[in-house]
Symmetry: D2
């Protein structure tokens, strides 16, 4: 097979190693390119096909680095997984919420404000407890439960004190009455390939595996599958982690992750997720 | 006339006052809404038509505030000028460069990197002097000429020291051999409505009016008009400030500004720019 | 009278106006010098006596600006109120605590740590609720009550995310069981000149006047006076705001403020605080 | 020998390993305590002698962490090398300049300002080229040569954009006409124990070893020794790195470093610097 697939990374995690191994098993060499060691011309359309091949698996940990490299490489006619549109939506919790709402996918009620004062008003309307999230960010970083008005006031004051304009976008959600777990599903193309429960670790409300959350297998019901595939389509499709909450009013899609970490899902579900991803990339390369 | 137009602002500058006056002359009330005093539900499609009317002129100084309010309001079916796509491209110098390149609009040669080390390599290739710009930002803030390797080294070190991930996107350009001026044009829909020269103030390389740049009328040649309208179309159209450089290899489009400040262009060109913008908004409202 | 007193400011607040008026009543011209419009040679001992006079009342809002100007001017032989030592201790809550402890002045129990993990351990030992404060900062900014382990965890995570090394100094205190007020006293030299109660505004735990706290007169008991003068002496004396908490184990000194805002104390106590300060400065000038 | 010496560190570098070895050779166990894993009560004077011993060698890389731990431990009666006063002066380039000036030690001409505008005025007076330094910081980080007015303007703009108030202290120096080297001397107590030349690496103006500067032995003249010991005494003495510039008007003291990195000086001079430091600590412990 002569199709060239490039793995664009900024740190080789377990996931990237698994992708390289899965490719090798298929007789494909996944060329790993360090995004930190690149500079690319943006003002013309010439592509370095030698360097980047036909299809790129973009796996940068730094969101903006991965996103903007995707933009440049796509403009040069290279296929990137995930594509810019999807990565741009999924990396931004507000754009994700809007895409889901437009597609009729149920989500937690979400309000956006741009000052701490308006965020407090939004919270009064949503009621306590509620949740605040940074619009950009991974692993639950700075995601916080706001138990009452006082806790909200102090968290908002800390956010306001942070320098970046990105921290002045206040993304506020109802706190969904869920069990101490959520459902992380992995979607590759049109297929829901794995689903796990993620249980919050002791003394922690967040369920992220990176925070010590424990993974267990989760049965895939038709309801879950339909919802998750609809959500994946709503954000433009690709290789995605769709997070689902079990709420009193049914399943809700909480977030959709591009550049998904699948280590926990792989070991809990015993599914060959990296193999599925490599097959998907090969299929794209063939077209 | 019963069409409702809303002016969404976060500070009333000269430009916003002029827009309100221009609307009044046309018998239209431009309802001014302070974006800092808003919180909006993002997870449903219901629109507060009473508050936002049919068409919104988005004029926030804070780029992210304006952009994300546009995203939310558009998802609710409200027409926003400029639309999300255009605002998203123009607020990001890299996406602007890519859109111009794809449309075949000549621009300064531009390279993107994500570490100071790669930025230095890009600079060696481009040669000195060169220019560094933040991907996000107005009024020439942190735009700097890099006269030689040493100056580049120290500016890059300062950039690297800044906390935000947005400052770790290194957008590097050739320094165009231009006269100590550029051409700022104002586009409204399909029309180039005004063009001025902006002369850099004494002891300053940047031409921004906000930095003391002086405005003088600039004749609109067919070449300029064609280029500028092509650039405007490339980024999605709307009300735009298209900046053009007179280079040895002809005119180059340097930047395209959404939420354009037109004070200088208005007084130098004697053109009723706010009137043109209000007419454009009314036309959109009628559709 | 020919002694020259200079008021060094960066913004003229009510307090600075009152100081100027009080000086005028005494036939003294208080020359106001804007610290933002100064640059001073640090590497020699020559003083611009014309500009700075004999005594400087340092009233900068920016702590570091005021502190380092004080250092430079003192090194040139100019008397500054407050002197560098006092300003340095009072502007730093940790150094204040150490100075009070060394002098045997009772204070809230205070622990220092340099990572969120150690701060959590300190909190477990102190027990909840507790208080976290930035080592530098005014008006109660970023001072937060930590009601329980969860609130502590999220506030610490937000602090850790802030860029400056100054935010990585975790100053943790027991929460003193006090009425919803504290006692703000004003000390000038060897005299406690005014005392007020500061009542926390509705929906706020902090008592700072700048946050809407209400001032009421507070009787000066011998116990209060002795404690406050001891605290003032412990930090080096001068013009100070000494804050006292009424705890179950008696009065505790909570903070000592240099460059004190005395507006609230002045109106609640009817004491001519600015007059006392000007008299103190004149006395220093005479020596 | 039963005196207890504690090495307080936050990362074990070559220097810390050498100190531990040097102590072992002297039959002394240097107990290494990780400052990141400490929290200490600041509000009382009780000392954990078991943990901290009689004398502490404070070797934290984080300046504020080391400084404030020193303050707390000293207040508990523990001897810290260097003491708080010395560490506080040497960690702050402005306080160092003032201490040297007061002691009559020649230094580069230095001006302090608190806004970019005043910094520019100071630069016009000093003339170009000049040097800007952060008041806090090691390894030459953000120290920059300002070759001309334009470079100064852009570096100042970048500094102003940085969030921390510490970056708003503008410490500006004449650029001393020196060879492409400086002299780094190591002082331990009353003795100048080693002197090296540090040569700036290619394409770099700074001479810091951490930036690739090369060390070579430097002869100790009586003039050098007298100057360096006077400088060490001016800042309070201890274990210090005194940096000297060879200027047309004679030797100038440029900086004095507490928590000095002596790796380069040790290998170039063949002097047993860690042994000298341990002996000094033992002597302090005996008193």
């Amino acid at each position: 097979m002569s199709h060239k697939i490039t793995l664009l990374y900024d740190r080789i995690r377990v996931e990237e190693k698994e992708l390289i191994n899965a490719a090798e098993k298929r007789g494909v060499h996944l060329k790993a390119v360090d995004a930190k060691a690149l500079h690319v011309v943006a003002s013309d359309l010439q592509a370095d096909k030698e360097l980047f091949g036909d299809v790129i698996l973009e796996r940068c940990i730094s969101f903006f680095r991965g996103l903007y490299l995707t933009a440049v490489l796509e403009s040069k006619g290279i296929t990137v997984i995930n594509n810019f549109e999807t990565a741009n939506i999924c990396g931004n919790k507000l754009l994700t919420t809007l895409a889901l709402a437009k597609a009729g996918v149920p989500t937690p009620k979400t309000v956006i404000a741009f000052t701490p004062e308006e965020a407090e008003k939004a919270l009064e309307e949503l009621g306590y407890p509620a949740v605040i999230k940074p619009v950009f960010g991974s692993w639950g970083r700075l995601v916080a439960p706001l138990r009452d008005r006082e806790m909200a006031q102090y968290i908002l004051e800390h956010r306001a004190e942070m320098g970046s304009p990105l921290h002045q976008i206040y993304y506020i959600q109802e706190m969904v009455e869920r069990p101490p777990r959520d459902i992380r599903t992995i979607v590759v193309g049109d297929e829901l390939v794995a689903a796990i429960y993620r249980y919050a670790p002791p003394n922690e409300w967040r369920t992220n595996i990176a925070r010590g959350g424990k993974a267990e297998p989760c049965p895939v019901t038709p309801e879950l599958e339909e919802l998750v595939l609809k959500a994946a389509k709503a954000v433009g499709g690709g290789v995605l982690g769709v997070d689902v909450l079990e709420s009193p009013r049914g399943l809700l899609v909480n977030e959709v992750n591009s550049t998904v970490e699948f280590r926990g899902a792989m070991s809990a579900s015993k599914i060959d997720i990296p193999g599925k991803i490599v097959d998907y990339a090969l299929e794209k390369a063939r077209r």
